[in-house]
C-alpha cells in the first residue's frame, strides 16, 4: 500500500502565495518602513568621517568597557579602514544595529510575558525551539517571496534568527529573581508594574544583557547569509570573494566582520558583567 503524501510543502507554498495576494499592501508598507530606516541610518554612517566614527566608538567603548576595549576598537576600526572595507562595514553595522534594535523591541516584552505567564511560556517555548533548529535558508525563501530581494528580507531573516536567545534569557532572568524579594515587593503594596520595574528587571539585568549580547552576535553572524538575498555590506563582499574565487577580498571582508563582532561583544559583555558585580 502506498501512503498518500501529506501535502505540508504544498500547504506552506499556498499559504505564502495567499499571504502575498491578500496582505501585499502590508508587506509593502513594512518594506517601505525598513528601507527608510536602514537607508537613512546607513547614509548617516557612511556620510560621517571615519575619524569621527572611530572617536565615538572609542568613547563608548571606554565608558562602558574600559580603556583596553577602547584601544582595541580603535586599532580594529583603523584596520578596516585601511583594508578599504569602510563603506561595506558601515552598511553591515547599520543593518546589524537596526536588526538588533527591532529584535530587542520584540524580544524583551515577549521575554517578560513568558516569565509572567506560564501559559505564554508554554506557547512561546516550542516556537523558539522551532526557530532555533530551523536552518535560516528555509525561511529565507518565503521571506523573499513576500518582500522581494534586498535589505528587507535580509533584515527580517536576521531579526527572526537573533530573537530567540534574547527572549529566553529575558524570561529566565526574571524567573530567577529570588521569590522572597518579589514577595517583599508585594508585601509593601507594589503594583505589578512597580514590581517589574523596581525589582525584577534590575535584578534580571545581567541575564538580560547576556541575551542582548547573544542577539547582536547572532545578527552579525547572519550577514553572509543575508547577502544571499541581496543585502550588501561585508557579507556581500565575502560572497563576491567566494563567487570570484578572490581569496584576498573574501578574507579581508571576513576579517572585518570578525573585528566588528569582537568590538560589539566586548562592549556589551562588559555592560552585563559590570551590573553583575554590583548586584
Amino acid at each position: 500500500m502506498v501512503l498518500p503524501k501529506i501535502p505540508i510543502g504544498d500547504t506552506v507554498a499556498w499559504l505564502v502565495d495567499a499571504a502575498d495576494e491578500y496582505f501585499g499592501w502590508l508587506f509593502d508598507f513594512i518594506t517601505d518602513v525598513i528601507n527608510f530606516l536602514v537607508g537613512n541610518f546607513t547614509d548617516l554612517l557612511i556620510g560621517m568621517p571615519p575619524l569621527i566614527f572611530i572617536a565615538i566608538v572609542a568613547l563608548i567603548g571606554w565608558r562602558l568597557a574600559g580603556i583596553k576595549v577602547a584601544i582595541g576598537s580603535v586599532l580594529g576600526l583603523f584596520l578596516i579602514w585601511n583594508m578599504d572595507m569602510w563603506k561595506p562595514a558601515m552598511e553591515t553595522i547599520s543593518l546589524v544595529v537596526i536588526a538588533t534594535v527591532i529584535s530587542l523591541i520584540i524580544s524583551i516584552p515577549l521575554g517578560i510575558a513568558t516569565a509572567r505567564s506560564d501559559m505564554v511560556h508554554r506557547l512561546v517555548m516550542p516556537v523558539l525551539d522551532f526557530m532555533q533548529t530551523m536552518p535560516p535558508f528555509v525561511y529565507l525563501v518565503p521571506v523573499v517571496i513576500l518582500f522581494a530581494i534586498g535589505n528587507v528580507p535580509g533584515l527580517i531573516a536576521t531579526v527572526v534568527f537573533a530573537m530567540p536567545p534574547a527572549i529566553r534569557l529575558t524570561g529566565l532572568g526574571i524567573r530567577q529573581v529570588p521569590k522572597d524579594l518579589v514577595e517583599a515587593a508585594e508585601a509593601f503594596g507594589a503594583t505589578e508594574g512597580q514590581k517589574l520595574v523596581k525589582v525584577q528587571l534590575p535584578l534580571a539585568m545581567p541575564t538580560i544583557m547576556a541575551g542582548v549580547n547573544q542577539c547582536i552576535l547572532l545578527a552579525l553572524s547572519m550577514v553572509v547569509i543575508a547577502a544571499m538575498v541581496g543585502v550588501g555590506g561585508l557579507g556581500g563582499m565575502v560572497l563576491r570573494g567566494i563567487q570570484r574565487l578572490d581569496v584576498g577580498m573574501g578574507f579581508e571582508a571576513g576579517l572585518s566582520i570578525v573585528i566588528i563582532a569582537i568590538i560589539l561583544d566586548r562592549v556589551t559583555q562588559k555592560i552585563g558583567g559590570k551590573r553583575k558585580t554590583t548586584t
Binding site: E183, A184, A185, A187, G189, P202, L203
Partner: protein
C-alpha cells in the same frame, strides 16, 4: 475593637480544597488528608484576635503552618475560606487597589532571609515602601534616615547591603518595615537566621523599639525561648491548627494538651540547660594580629588570667595565658601565634550542662563555645555554670 481579627481562617494548598475541607470535618489528620487527596492543609480554622500594641507570637515546629498563617493576614496567600479584619475592615474582601492600600498604610513585613534588594543601597532599601507609595524623594529619604537611626544603623545609609553582617541586614529589614510607619508588623522568623547572641540583641532591640513605637506585632518563631521572651501572648500551632493561645506564663504552667506540654518540656530542657543558654558573649578576645602587650593589657583591665585568641573571622585559635605574655614581653618577642595553647576545651552551643561540668572541672581555662565552623560564639566560666544550675533548680520549683 481589636486591631486584628482572624476568623475561621483556612488555607488548603491544592486544586480541590473542598474535598480536603470535608475530610477535615470528619476529623482526618493532615497526613491522612494528604495521602488521600494530595492536598496540603496549611492552616485550619485559625481563630483569634490581637489587640493594638500587643506582641502576638505564633509558634510551632517547622511545617506547622506559621508562615502560611502570617501570609494570610496580608493576603500574600489567598485564604481558602475565613475572614481577616484589620481595624474592622475585611481584608479578604478587598479588591486589588484596596488591598495594596492596606498593605502600604497598615502592614509592614520582615522576612526570615531578610529579602533585601541587593541592587539598592541601605537607604533605598529602607525607603522602598515609601517609594512604592509615591512619596517624593526628599521626604522618603528623611523618613528612611529616621528609621535607620531607630534600628541603630546611623552612618550606614549609603553602604551596599551585601557589605553588612546578618544582624545588620535584618536591621535594614526592620527599618524598611518601620519607615512607612505601619500599625502592624508581620515578622516571619525574623531572627532565626542569626547567631544566638545577635538574636538576643535583636530581641532586646525589638522590645525597645516596641516600647517607643507601640506597634502591633505578629511574630512567627519556632523557638520557645524567643516566644517566651518577647511574646505578650503565644499561639501554639500544630499541623495547621492553633492548639493553644495564652500568655507565656499560661503556656508554661498550664499546657493545654500533651503536644504543648512536650513542646514546652523539650525546648525548656534543651535550651536553658545548654552551653548556649549559659555562655557569655566573647567580647574580650584578642586576634592573631594583636601582640602580647595588648593581650596583657586587656587581661589586666578585665582581671583575667588567660584570654582566647581568634583569627580575624572569629575562628578559635586557642588561648594565651598572662604568664606567657609577660614572658614574651620581657624577652622581646611580639608574635602572639607562638604563645597560643591550641588545646582548649570546646563545646557546641547545644551541648548539655552535664557534659560541660567535667570539662570545666578538669581544665584551668574557661570552656569555649564554637559552631561547626569553629567560630567562637561564647565563653563559659565557672560562675556562669553555677548560675545556670540555679536557674534549672528555680524552673523546676516553679513548674512543680
Amino acid at each position: 475593637m481589636s486591631k486584628l481579627i482572624v476568623k475561621d481562617l483556612v488555607k488548603i494548598f491544592g486544586k480541590d480544597p473542598k474535598k480536603a475541607l470535608e475530610l477535615t470535618k470528619q476529623g482526618l489528620s493532615k497526613k491522612e488528608i494528604f495521602e488521600k487527596t494530595g492536598q496540603t492543609v496549611g492552616v485550619l480554622n485559625a481563630d483569634f484576635e490581637v489587640q493594638a500594641g500587643e506582641i502576638f507570637v505564633i509558634m510551632g515546629l517547622s511545617g506547622s503552618g506559621k508562615s502560611t498563617l502570617l501570609r494570610l493576614i496580608n493576603r500574600l496567600i489567598e485564604p481558602t475560606s475565613g475572614k481577616v479584619y484589620i481595624d474592622g475592615e475585611d481584608i479578604t474582601a478587598a479588591d486589588g487597589e484596596k488591598l495594596r492600600e492596606i498593605r502600604r498604610q497598615k502592614l509592614g513585613m520582615v522576612f526570615q532571609r531578610f529579602a533585601l534588594f541587593p541592587h539598592r543601597s541601605v537607604l533605598d532599601n529602607a525607603a522602598f515602601g515609601l517609594e512604592i507609595q509615591g512619596v517624593e524623594e526628599k521626604e522618603r529619604h528623611e523618613k528612611a534616615y529616621k528609621a535607620l537611626e531607630l534600628v541603630g544603623l546611623k552612618g550606614w545609609e549609603h553602604s551596599d547591603v551585601s557589605q553588612l553582617s546578618g544582624g545588620m541586614q535584618q536591621r535594614v529589614g526592620l527599618a524598611r518595615a518601620l519607615a512607612s510607619d505601619p500599625d502592624i508588623l508581620l515578622m516571619d522568623e525574623a531572627f532565626s537566621a542569626l547567631d544566638p547572641l545577635i538574636r538576643k540583641d535583636m530581641q532586646d532591640e525589638l522590645l525597645d523599639i516596641q516600647s517607643k513605637m507601640n506597634k502591633t506585632i505578629i511574630f512567627v518563631t519556632h523557638d520557645l525561648d524567643e516566644a517566651l521572651r518577647i511574646g505578650d501572648r503565644i499561639a501554639l500551632m500544630k499541623d495547621g491548627e492553633v492548639v493553644q493561645i495564652g500568655t507565656p506564663e499560661q503556656i508554661l504552667t498550664n499546657p493545654a494538651n500533651d503536644y504543648v506540654e512536650r513542646f514546652v518540656e523539650d525546648v525548656d530542657m534543651s535550651k536553658v540547660l545548654t552551653a548556649e543558654g549559659i555562655m557569655k558573649r566573647p567580647d574580650v578576645v584578642v586576634t592573631t594580629k594583636d601582640g602580647p602587650r595588648y593581650a596583657l593589657r586587656l587581661m589586666r583591665e578585665k582581671g583575667l588570667s588567660s584570654i582566647f585568641v581568634t583569627s580575624r573571622d572569629r575562628k578559635l585559635k586557642g588561648i594565651v595565658t598572662a604568664d606567657c605574655c609577660v614572658d614574651a614581653v620581657v624577652n622581646g618577642y611580639n608574635d602572639i601565634n607562638r604563645l597560643i595553647i591550641p588545646d582548649v576545651p570546646k563545646v557546641s552551643p547545644d551541648t548539655n550542662l552535664q557534659d560541660i561540668i567535667p570539662l570545666l572541672a578538669d581544665s584551668k581555662y574557661p570552656v569555649a563555645v564554637v559552631n561547626e565552623e569553629d567560630r567562637l560564639l561564647g565563653v563559659i566560666v565557672r560562675g556562669a555554670l553555677l548560675a545556670g544550675m540555679m536557674k534549672k533548680g528555680g524552673d523546676e520549683d516553679g513548674a512543680a
